[in-house]
Symmetry: D2
């Protein structure tokens, strides 16, 4: 208690964890319960069904793991693939890099398609690689929907079309950790086989609950036992992340091991919150807040890390600072002087970009406070900006564009 207390709240504008509605925090403040009681399924069962709304799926199967999103990546790979299997992965930022790294550590052969940071998965190249894979060595295509590190959104629908065009049977795995619940996601329409989400982003929950939505096709392969009935018999080792144990227990409304109860109550409340706002409204709101942020960036005379508008992410904007400015200092200064948490530049773009996360439970004035803070931090750190210019541009845009469609 030696340090002086910082007044007011922290302004959290990282790309997750996101600001939670107070009602979700309240919903999680629960005493322990017996997860094997006769009444427990009243809580658990609807979650599996209701969560599918957020994935844009009616055909899929949702499993909830007590883990972060990283664990769910592992779950997708280890339940469907065998040692030495080949996967195709686009890499264009820190999180797509980490997924590739995980696949390699788990013993998979990864064909990496590197794209320039600031762009996303290239459906054309994916189609080419699949066409070339005439003996169907590639068992899965891994795509990060929203690359959090650079503020880039890939076109998953186009990737699906690439698979179709190549007439390739590979599974389609999508990391939707920083998109699902915030950006339009169409599991069924895009025929995604494993869609991976984390509780701490669009679901507006703390980290600790990993969600996966699994297509009937992926499920069948997983159920086929080692090798998925293909004769291959060296399934990647797993136990904790096994779908089978979960599905067996889930069917009755239970879990194979003790679930993280507060997060289940939190998820129930989060789904209610999302239903009450409406998924279309949520998507539209994220777009409006993102566009307002981009208006501010333009007014500052700066550029997003995303190379072209088609890559712009509506959940996070990575902003390139001018030459000679250290983005890390801007971020530290924003935190220490204005209690504003911005996202840092990771790996290749460390020191070059800072990120404004604009996902989760936000509205206009929260964002404008953050834009004002970013502006002040930039000026303090030597960037030549007109004070108020970012807020002026963003607020003018927001005045014209309501968060929800009429």
């Amino acid at each position: 208690m030696a340090a002086t207390r910082r007044p007011g709240r922290n302004h959290l504008f990282i790309p997750g964890p996101t600001t939670m509605p107070d009602r979700i925090i309240r919903a999680m403040a629960v005493q322990s319960e017996d997860h094997r009681s006769p009444s427990f399924p009243e809580l658990a069962k609807p979650l599996f069904q209701d969560a599918k709304m957020v994935f844009g799926s009616t055909e899929g199967t949702v499993i909830l793991f007590p883990s972060s999103g990283t664990g769910i990546w592992e779950s997708a790979l280890t339940n469907t693939l065998c040692r030495g299997d080949t996967v195709l992965a686009a890499r264009f930022g820190q999180f797509s890099h980490l997924w590739v790294d995980m696949a390699q550590r788990l013993g998979l052969e990864v064909i990496v398609q590197d794209e320039e940071w600031g762009t996303g998965a290239d459906p054309q190249r994916i189609e080419e690689a699949l066409r070339a894979d005439t003996d169907h060595r590639i068992k899965a295509v891994m795509v990060v929907h929203n690359e959090t590190a650079t503020g880039v959104t890939s076109d998953v629908g186009a990737v699906r079309k690439a698979l179709d065009a190549a007439n390739h049977p590979a599974l389609l795995f999508v990391d939707g950790i920083s998109s699902i619940g915030s950006l339009p996601f169409k599991m069924d329409e895009w025929r995604v086989d494993c869609a991976v989400a984390g509780s701490q982003k669009g679901f507006m929950l703390p980290a600790g609950l990993g969600l996966i939505c699994i297509s009937p096709k992926a499920l069948k392969i997983a159920e086929g036992g080692p090798g998925g009935g293909t004769g291959r018999n060296d399934r990647l080792g797993h136990a904790y992340f096994a779908w089978k144990d979960q599905l067996g227990a889930n069917a009755g409304g239970y879990f194979p091991y003790t679930p993280a109860l507060p997060l289940l109550y939190g998820l129930r409340e989060a789904l209610a919150v999302m239903r009450e706002e409406g998924m279309e409204n949520i998507y539209h709101r994220h777009h409006v807040l993102a566009e307002a942020t981009r208006q501010a960036v333009a007014a500052w005379g700066l550029k997003p890390c995303a190379k072209e508008p088609k890559w712009y992410s509506d959940t996070v904007t990575a902003i390139v600072v001018p030459e000679g400015i250290d983005a890390a200092k801007v971020i530290t200064h924003a935190f220490e002087r204005y209690n504003l948490s911005l996202g840092t530049g990771l790996s290749k773009v460390a020191g070059k970009v800072f990120r404004i996360g604009h996902l989760g439970d936000l509205n206009e004035l929260s964002l404008l406070g953050a834009i004002a803070g970013a502006e002040m931090a930039l000026i303090d750190c030597g960037v030549a900006l007109t004070p108020g210019s970012g807020v002026a541009a963003a607020s003018s845009y927001l005045r014209e564009n309501p968060l929800h469609k009429a």
Copy 2:
């Protein structure tokens, strides 16, 4: 649940209740306790002592009532005065008006000194009235320290000097509801006899706990029984708000009737929060945020309701809208379109002013979000403003002026 959910949090910039730190909300989430248990005084006793810090008092006695601030006004009057007693009161806004009204309803004769709204208590006139009261008919002088309706702060120290100059024995009663805990308050130095505070302002708690700090002089009069030992025997009726019952129980760390337990835990936490920031830092922060607000108002080309800088309140700014604009519409629009809660104009200034409360647990970016919102609402309602001008002025000021002194 038919209505669409509003995303994000409400931006609360009324002059109380104020935004509470989450840790205070948490501290109040307590199960019931026996308020007569042997361990209860461990909670209660320190509160009476520690709360005096916020009043700037070591000599006073603090009592905590389960009531709003209005009740504490009544407590001050009914414990010290008799039916038909005369009091002198300055009136220059809705809250000073209401206190006068209460005194009249309780059966007191009130000499009202009306001042122009936008100014405050006039020490000169008070001195004159007291000098004229040669037979000391006036038993108390009532001053509202911070008139919440107009954003005006009176100079209580100067009022004390007026009493001294007139050599008048009247008690000095101060309504510090929207000042104590936010503006410098010097109970002992100013020899205030009853200082009245509410939990929902500078204390950053919900309403429901009324605090009064009582001078030894006032306490002695109250203890004198009907008439305070003066021979007058028609003490104003009261029971709930009797100091005597409270003080008897408080001495042992108890209360005469069931206390509002969550608020006691909340008060304990609030006092810790205030100690950790430091009262001088708190006062300075309120001044800086208020000045930033005034910079924005000036940049908009508008004027505060307070007539001169000497009247400027550091907890609330009432802003006069241009002719032809309905301030009530601005306020409603700000709430409905931007989820920004501004203070309404009350009574004489209804429709003419809106108010920005800048007290409680706030920091720069919270305020800038609100200024951005007020600006947007003003523009939407037809006021000719340069978008971003208010935020630019306020943020430039805030960049130069840290919330805490080094």
Copy 3:
């Protein structure tokens, strides 16, 4: 933190404040709101209507004060009576005594009917007094429904019959603080004029919200101005507890001064909780738990303070300890050794009785834990009991008698 932590929860078996359901605690953990916002009435308005269910009223008007129950007593008296008015009050315990005392302090003439502690209001004597009052000097009859100090419930319906039999126009005031929400209460059927309740008992909330339900008759008198249109003009002084200010604001869904917001959310949740259990079920449950307690007392060979079964309270049982035993020591020992909070003996019965409160959100096993604890404390303090005898008797009764009717 020097003291060793006490493990586990406190077992709270005083007659209020009562144990709260966790969901009510959660519902109160809210950030501040503007109590003058356009959306505020969505919260406030239904409360006035819905709370009437608990009073057994459709004709009455409910007002919610930020105060303890004591304040509401004052409110009932000061809004309807004038200085020097005469009231008739039965006194048979500490709380009926305190209400008499308050009436006297407020300047009323109180005709006190003292009854033996352990009995209640005597309808016969009340009828006689009213018959004798041929000039209708008595303006109100004050009855404590449930005397918390002795565990005695008066028959309010019989008191109403006494008024009717005497054909007397006096108002009927009932202190239902420790009964309303737990015992059957029939405001309309009994034609009660002011029924007073506190949040910390049957409503399962913290103290701090005082509830009063007012009959049309009492309301009309209050609205008549000083003297209620009777020509009497010396209404008891009040301001904070004025009904008029509340009713004016309540009509629109607002309050005349800042309400204790968490308690409003708490009340909303408490009313939902009560509806979901059902008032008849609640009443039945209180009866069953009370009877189980009495079975335990009988098994211990002890006697309740209530003289006859017709006086038995279903919310609290006061138990007389054997000669030579100091009940205060039993209570202190129960708290310090077993973390069990029992009610102390007040005033005349101090040291002679201890009380088990069995109201609020309780069930069988909570009560049996407390009975076990009381038994252990009694034995430890020298009372000759068969270990387990109380629990055996109570549990046998509870096995046969479900908390809810089928």
Copy 4:
């Protein structure tokens, strides 16, 4: 809401998750934070150090995973062992069975030593097996410290002596999920190499945080890369549960992926709670409550599942119901009729035993309520018991035996 609300709280007497102190629930009700902020290590860093107290370790290294305890089992195996490695495991209940099953699923050879359910690991047999393993094929010995299914505690110190006597270099892995934080655990003294704990038992937190304490020896092997520097190169696949990534980030006070923030705040509070009670007091309390439970069982004329006193667990008692009684019905009845959650019989003992968990934040009267409830449920289900006999026996014991040593 169609169903009638159940009044009062659930009485949770399963062997975890355990009842949490309200202050821990409060501590977890936090808004999101940036887990990469400069101030984040102030929260995280002390946890790694302070948690070692609960393991009885100063030399070990603690890692915190967002997972249930099952995940931590996997972590212990996959960070230290290679495909095809042999491990020795004692099996004597459902949880020791599941750990064996996991090891097999992950590709390990498991030498299973089956012991009669109701007994525990046999140090003699372990020593023999190790002596026979002259070429040190056995890489690890896996012991469940407290078998939750049968209420049996194994003697880990004796197992360590067996390893020493055999002069065998195998690692010693201990599942302390239902013991650590409740039963004496001496990581350093017993030279345990991996001790696995879950947040939802002795730590009095929700599930969702898995804790492992790792000896320097195990850490060195893990750091040796595939095969631990032994030339073996087929390390079990893992990524999420990799120690290396955690340790790299933990060193600075961070995590490699988003942590479950509420659980970190909860852990901080839980460690404070444990310090304030004192580990020795906690262990003693668990012993006293367990012994009281066993006194009740004896008074009922029933027998624990544990065959001999030396196997008795102080965190859970499994109780054998008489022939002809279905334990599952007793458990269901206890839940539905008395809101008492008892542990079910798993696998081999399904229908034959019910379990009373007596770990976590409990005290005498909580336990006595549960014993009363179990007694009532048994009687209702046809077991011939003297009503009150269990409570009498337990309470007599508890009167003589305080929870804490003087």
